[in-house]
Point group: C2
Chain length 361, copies 2
């Protein structure tokens, strides 16, 4: 389609909804083979049949241009994928699986219908990959920046649910996947943006991104860890769980606060990939800082007993023990590679940056 | 509480959530006597038990400062009430009743925790009045204007559901309540804002609002028509339904488009209150224009057969026949009081204003 010159106001609300439906509806139908979505995009509300006997979950996440994303270095397609990941990851963190979603878009006049189509192409790719259906939403004008709201519903049986509360002293503290790659990629994107802004001839500027592709993929197309939820849901008793959206340090604090415990994280156990270490070295920064304070990982942080960890380890190789749950009085600390310990400050990456490197005291 | 000088960043995310929970949680518990909300504000997602055998509904609405609301003449408490009404009204328009909700807030730095508390005081008043529970949400910073997203879940049996599609030629076109008061009040608020801006001494300026109180209440604290849904759900067969958020003319078009019909609206049947007529006269504007093109009424527009209307009329006096559904080929028109007819242009109030009064051709 070549509608690149249409404006949002010229295609109107109905025109825009029609274009969204052309992208979403076929994928939604495929993601709902049981036909439980009785009414998708078209009326005042979505209508669906819940699976009998199962609990329903609903999570809401809001993303604001200039706070949560920068369209200078994120395509609309990646944005569509990534905001859905945030909602799906919340459902995963509860031990549940996703079913339906709605999306709210607030669009400044600088954007065109093609941008909206690109956004929904990313959403559709996520739907196809993770088997859920976007069933409605809202699209409005914005007087300022772009904003996106994502709502995802999920289902779980009561015994499958996992909460932030529930960690027990002695528990292993585990994470899925690797840490720090997302913020490492962000640092590269920020550097390249600055190089672009400083370039004498911006038209000829080409960002140098190829060498960082594995990290960039983690940043631009993060995957919710529904696979781990499926792997663990039958045979492994996880005591507490949360997803890592604001950074490991911050989420350890959330989990300990709700559980009434302390914890110790071990620097030498943090799973950091080679690409992340390479970026940190190149920028003269610390991979440990990335791993502890970098956000938008969408990996899972969870705790379980040593015995249950043994069971999980036999089912998947993609989990790492990064610490232990302690009594509350022992505080929340991290142990450096040299064996010294320090309080683990509950700061996300943005706060950390704002404090000029004061995060690691 | 006197936290008026705290900033959003000084109380932090947890401090803010704590304040919200103090307002919301007690009311939520009272609105959920069956204890179906297993997990409200506190974790990655809300968890609730659906009523066995009933279908689930989900609606999402987004509101942006400067597009949908103006904090100059809307208090945070009224805003909280009103955005919830929009979501509840979508649920009502489907023939369903609300159960749970989530709220996303994107807050610019100019706002304080007290503003957020005031907003949630309005939300809590709505919860108490209409018996549903806010169960979660998201609160983020905004780089620009304030934005709000409201998601409301509802339940209905399949036979209770009402759709936009379903109108049949010959149907009566009905509305609940009265029309035009909300936009009439907006016109007064706009006039008073201009008087404030023009005032020599703004500190001493007092807006003149008292005489318009009934219209202002409709504008600032509109009520979703869940009462009519309850009244009609057992004995009356409604063929199609939609709520009036963008204005009667616009919604008639939506309903006819989905139903594949035409319609004629009769000017002399439009239910307009005395206060609305008085404001129109005072401002030299047309009460019919208010009734046809004024938005944010949150009344219901629905169609049903003459026989079913007879049944409904015996149950409630708060519905008015404003037109008839016609064959599609007959178009969508309105008949003036003098008997002449014209096409009914599907414009909302804002578009209408933008066209310098061109809405009523």
């Amino acid at each position: 389609m070549t509608h690149g010159t249409d404006s949002l106001s010229s295609v109107g609300e109905f025109g825009l909804i029609e274009r969204i439906r052309r992208i979403i509806d076929p994928v939604a139908a495929a993601a709902d083979p049981s036909g439980d979505l009785l009414l998708g995009i078209s009326d005042d509300a979505a209508v669906y049949r819940p699976t009998p006997g199962r609990l329903q979950l609903l999570t809401t996440d809001m993303f604001v241009e200039g706070v949560h994303f920068d369209l200078t270095f994120m395509s609309m397609k990646h944005l569509g994928w990534k905001v859905m990941t945030a909602g799906l990851s919340d459902i995963a963190a509860m031990g549940a699986l996703p079913r339906f979603a709605t999306v709210g878009l607030s669009l400044p006049a600088k954007l065109t219908p093609v941008h909206v189509e690109e956004f929904y192409t990313g959403v559709a790719a996520s739907m196809k990959e993770f088997r859920y259906a976007v069933a409605g939403g809202d699209t409005t004008a914005s007087a300022g920046n772009m904003a996106v709201t994502v709502n995802v519903t999920g289902e779980a049986d009561e015994k499958e649910l996992r909460f932030r509360r529930g960690a027990v002293p002695g528990d292993y503290v585990c994470v899925t996947g690797h840490l720090g790659a997302s913020v490492a990629a962000l640092r590269i994107l920020q550097r390249e943006k600055q190089r672009y802004l400083d370039a004498k001839n911006r038209d000829e500027f080409r960002p140098e991104l190829e060498p960082y592709a594995p990290a960039l993929e983690k940043h631009l197309m993060p995957r919710p860890r529904l696979d781990i939820v499926k792997t663990a849901r039958d045979g492994v008793r996880i005591n507490s769980m949360i997803d890592i959206s604001d950074g490991l340090a911050s989420e350890v604090h959330h989990l300990c606060r709700e559980s009434g415990t302390g914890a110790r994280i071990f620097e030498h156990n943090l799973p950091v990939e080679a690409i992340t270490q390479r970026i940190a070295a190149e920028l003269g920064e610390s991979p440990t800082t990335y791993a502890l304070f970098g956000g938008e990982e969408y990996e899972l942080l969870f705790t379980l007993s040593e015995g249950e960890f043994g069971k999980l380890e036999r089912l998947t190789g993609d989990v790492t023990v990064v610490g232990r749950i302690l009594e509350k009085a022992e505080g929340i600390t991290y142990e450096r590679e040299d064996g010294t310990a320090a309080p683990l400050v509950p700061l996300g990456w943005d706060h950390f940056r704002g404090r000029n490197g004061g995060g690691l005291q």
